[in-house]
């Protein structure tokens, strides 16, 4: 099976990344979010990223702005995903938002369509229970920048069928990615472990043991990681990191997942990382294109 049209729900950081990757692989996208302001911002970032993608990924096609826009339908109407062959959902890590979205998707989409939950921590089994297609709900933990990542963590919920796993494997193969299929517990493998790193790194800064630069330098130069935990937290978005830690804490009732007060304070102050221009580091604001 070759996928031609996919619904992407949520035009935030991950929704943008997923859309870029799908378009670069010649797949049509219906990109849904709640406001045209968010969609306009997403459009600008998608155009920027697709334009320069061949610089970083030699296999990426050189696409014109018009060519990219032809492939994407930006909409605030979730009903527009009704003829999509697969759904990738990337809304906020808030249960009430997920609940509303999945109940609607279940009514709108054809019964054979699988729902890929692009979540950091929320249980796939719990999301699946919101629908009448529990066997077709599967976790796809994509990571940023999506079009440069060769591997995806795929999560099989309690009722997820082998057929759904195979469908996701085919979609990822079409995107040039391999998968690692794991079982469903909050945070899965990647975030259950990585969020402990990021949270403890924030505690280290809060306790004035080291500066963010020093923390990240140790991870990069001593452990040979490409990025340090605080750079990673800034990239993910500190609000998302806090939300994920809260989900992990609530799910396991284990104090090791308690959120660092400094992280929460930074989120309250609007210092969300790259996307707000300031987190543990400062970032230059990007000009917009395509307007």
């Amino acid at each position: 099976m070759s996928f031609k049209k996919i619904g992407v729900i949520g035009a935030g950081t991950m929704g943008i990344g997923v859309t870029v990757d799908l378009v670069l692989h010649d797949i049509e996208v219906v990109l849904v979010d709640i406001s045209f302001d968010i969609l306009e911002k997403a459009k600008s970032e998608i155009l920027n990223t697709t334009r320069f993608a061949p610089l970083l990924n030699k296999t990426a096609p050189k696409m014109s702005m018009e060519g990219v826009l032809e492939k994407i339908h930006f909409t605030t109407q979730i009903n527009n995903v009704n003829d999509c062959e697969f759904i990738i959902e990337n809304v906020s890590e808030k249960w009430d938002i997920k609940e509303t979205v999945y109940k609607e998707l279940d009514k709108i989409c054809k019964p054979e369509v699988c729902f890929g939950v692009d979540t950091s921590c929320i249980s796939i089994t719990k999301v699946a229970k919101l629908t009448n297609r529990q066997d077709k709900v599967i976790g796809i933990h994509l990571m940023n920048p999506v079009y440069l990542k060769p591997c995806v963590e795929v999560i099989q919920g309690f009722h997820t069928s082998e057929e759904s796993v195979e469908i996701v494997n085919q979609l990822m193969k079409q995107l040039g990615k391999t998968t690692v299929v794991v079982n469903d517990y909050p945070g899965f493998v990647s975030n259950r472990i990585s969020h402990l790193f990021m949270n403890e790194a924030a505690f280290v800064v809060q306790d004035q043991v080291a500066s963010p630069q020093q923390v990240d330098e140790i991870f990069k130069k001593c452990f040979n990681h490409k990025m340090g935990p605080l750079e990673t937290a800034d990239l993910i978005g500190l609000d998302t990191v806090v939300d994920s830690l809260d989900v992990l804490y609530e799910s396991y009732q284990d104090s090791k997942f308690r959120c660092c007060p400094l992280l929460r304070k930074m989120v309250h102050a609007g210092n969300l990382g790259r996307k707000s221009g300031k987190g543990f580091y400062e970032y230059k604001k990007q000009p917009t294109v395509g307007k």
């Binding site: 320069f52 061949p54 610089l55 630069q213 990069k220 490409k226 230059k284 990007q286």
Partner: protein, 79 residues
């Protein structure tokens, strides 16, 4: 604008984006792990705006952007 002016402006931009100081103009900023792939896209957008140039599909070669020296040569060539 002279070649040296361009180098100074580009160097300042990279230093402020990476929170480092004393960047050598011939240092390969990607090879040295100073910046990551996400920064490459930010850099492209910045260069277009700052120097009023248009980066075309044919320009998308990492060799143009690997160091302050190569970026300055690219900008001079485009202007």
């Amino acid at each position: 604008m002279t070649d040296n002016n361009i180098k100074s402006i580009v160097s300042e931009y990279i230093e402020s984006s990476t929170n480092i100081t004393g960047l050598a103009y011939d240092m390969d900023i990607f090879e040295e792990g100073l910046v990551n792939s996400l920064f490459a896209i930010e850099l492209m957008t910045y260069l277009e705006k700052e120097f009023s140039i248009k980066i075309t599909m044919d320009d998308l070669d990492m060799s143009h952007f690997k160091s302050v020296d190569s970026i300055a040569a690219f900008v001079v060539n485009k202007k």
